[in-house]
């Protein structure tokens, strides 16, 4: 197999999420955690979902996997389609289990995400027994091979050890081996490197990219680290307060940012490049209360470019260039402002 960006099959994307809405009933009221999220991802592609914590990234991907605890959670609208087949509310598509077989997921904290009283090998072998009908011993042998594939030294010995005998980085490799066992078509990685050292982070990301090249799987990578986005992503979805506020190719979102929040994120990020050194500028304020989402743009109180209309009505989505999309009143013809001239350093 070779890496490429050609469209597969009939031209429908591998995974499409449309207008996803998720709520949680809590003692304090109903939280509208996800308020109409759409994106799609193709084979061999990496989609990064960025945004500050609490903006609904995890809830979005867990909804696709059917991992939202119900109650308190509730998917109130939207669809998620894998090769055109609905996955929401279902456990299989086309006779294959969604969880584990079609879509695999790795989590933020590898230390707590593995069963402390089960050997690593048994945990990696488990999906093979469940989805492929392997015998326990065949599955274990295959688990050792997968551990090797994920570059954990002394695979046979490591397979018989328990999670507490592993370092964080090695555990995340084991998680990847586990997810890979049934060759899923989509890998969801929810902040896979946030809990790890910087050098280990890079190794894990490299491993994911390498395995993507070999298997052709799509990756949905959740992160709030723009450095990770720049390194990995083909496509980027910027989320804010339960919505996607900007969406497009990594180049578009980075170099032709079309939403004030994206610009804010960039200014708050340290950069290695001395030529582009800048004073770090954190975004002041905090996201809106999702118990009672505002009538207008959720970013309004923090936005340096906010206008009268912003606090009154939801901004519409604007398609800018190709499939580059931003949801901001500045792009409206009547705003009388040219976003490019306000915050685009590299005008198109």
């Amino acid at each position: 197999m070779t890496a490429g960006k050609e469209n597969v099959d009939s031209g429908i994307p591998l995974l499409t999420v449309e207008n996803l809405q998720v709520e949680f009933d809590t003692y304090g009221g109903t939280v509208q955690a996800v308020r109409g999220v759409s994106f799609s991802v193709d084979q061999r592609q990496t989609l990064a979902i960025v945004g500050e914590s609490g903006c609904g990234k995890s809830v979005t991907v867990q909804s696709i996997m059917g991992l939202i605890p119900t109650p308190p959670g509730r998917i109130t609208a939207g669809s998620a389609r894998l090769r055109g087949h609905e996955t929401l509310g279902r456990s299989t598509v086309g006779g294959k289990q969604i969880r584990g077989a079609e879509i695999g997921m790795i989590f933020q904290d590898p230390m707590t995400s593995l069963n402390p009283t089960m050997t690593i090998g048994d945990q990696i072998a488990e999906p093979l027994q469940v989805h492929r009908g392997y015998s326990a011993s065949d599955a274990f042998t295959e688990a050792i091979r997968l551990i090797e594939l994920c570059k954990i030294p002394e695979a046979a010995k490591r397979a018989r050890q328990y999670p507490f005998e592993f370092s964080g980085g090695m555990l995340q490799r084991a998680m990847i081996a586990m997810v890979l066992s049934c060759k899923p078509s989509v890998l969801i990685a929810d902040e896979p490197t946030t809990a790890l050292d910087v050098t280990i982070q890079a190794q894990i990301l490299d491993l994911m990219q390498e395995l993507q090249k070999e298997t052709g799987m799509a990756i949905i990578l959740i992160t709030h680290d723009l450095g990770v986005v720049a390194r990995m992503a083909d496509e980027v979805a910027v989320m804010y307060a339960g919505k996607v506020v900007e969406y497009g190719s990594a180049d578009d979102v980075f170099y032709h940012s079309a939403h004030p929040y994206t610009v804010g994120l960039k200014e708050a990020m340290p950069m290695n490049d001395p030529a582009r050194q800048h004073v770090l500028k954190p975004i002041d304020g905090s996201p809106p209360d999702l118990f009672a989402p505002p009538a207008g743009c959720g970013y309004c109180p923090r936005c340096p470019y906010a206008m009268q209309i912003c606090s009154e009505r939801q901004p519409q989505g604007h398609n800018l260039h190709g499939h580059h999309f931003a949801s901001c009143w500045l792009h409206h013809a009547k705003s009388g402002r040219k976003p490019e001239t306000i915050f685009f350093k590299d005008a198109r």
């Binding site: 695999g104 995400s113 402390p116 009283t117 469940v130 507490f164």
Partner: protein, 311 residues
Amino acid sequence: MWLYILKRALQGIITVWFIATATFFAMHNVPGDPLTNDRAMTETTRANLESKYGLDQPITTQYLIFLRNLSRGDFGISFVQENREVNDIIREHFPVSAILGVLAVVFAAIGGVLFGALTALYRNRLPDYLIMFLVILGISVPSFVVAALGQLSLVSLNTLMGFTVLPVAGWGTVMHMLVPALVLGLSTMAYLTRLMRSSMLEVTSSDYVRTAKSKGVPPTRIFTRHQLRNAILPVVTVLGPAIAAITTGGFVVELVFAIPGLGRYFVEAVQQLDYTVIMGTTVFYGAFLVFMVILVDVVYGFIDPRVRLDL
């Protein structure tokens, strides 16, 4: 692992020695002695008896003799029951207490794990409310009340059926053991149920159970492979103290159900200040409990791999 067991055994021996010493001095500080009773006794008779039992020796000498005999496993002869060796009393009556206790612990552990898991599974639904109501009852009602109620319901049952379904008191067959063991284990079962419930709930919302779900593992397999073993750990840690609680609680149950266990002798010996029997039974119970606690810890090491390596 072996090193660990050896270490724990040494600690155990020191603990037993400590129990023996404390009991010895506590007892000799109680006013009166085994020869004080209603019968009038001349000075000479008393002196003769005292010298026969060594009671005229200084207390340190008595202590050393006691320790020497103890190290040989000889607890001496009862003061009250003429010519009866303490070892014979223990040999004859301890097995009864042990069977009752072990059966009670088994009831408590199995019931606690089962009901605890059940309440967690049906959290905030009818089975949960029902069992938790019973648990609160089981924890708050004292064992002599439960024992009496248990016996009373046996009587009613037998009268209702017109024949003896289960014997009301006594000892001998499995039928005699069931209800007393259940009564004896009840409060521990209630306590373990509550512990298992909260432990199970914690495990259910853990990251690794979410991982198992995301792998597509079916719920029954998640329950058996991922939840049960982890949830059971806190229950196993309290099993040592639970055994202690059940063993001491056994005295009451033995009295109510007229079971010829060691408990009755222990209580009678204390009332009559029968030095050797008190010493013998106390030290023996102490050693038994220490052994059970060590056993539980070793079993824990087999269930939890994290402990296994530290040992």
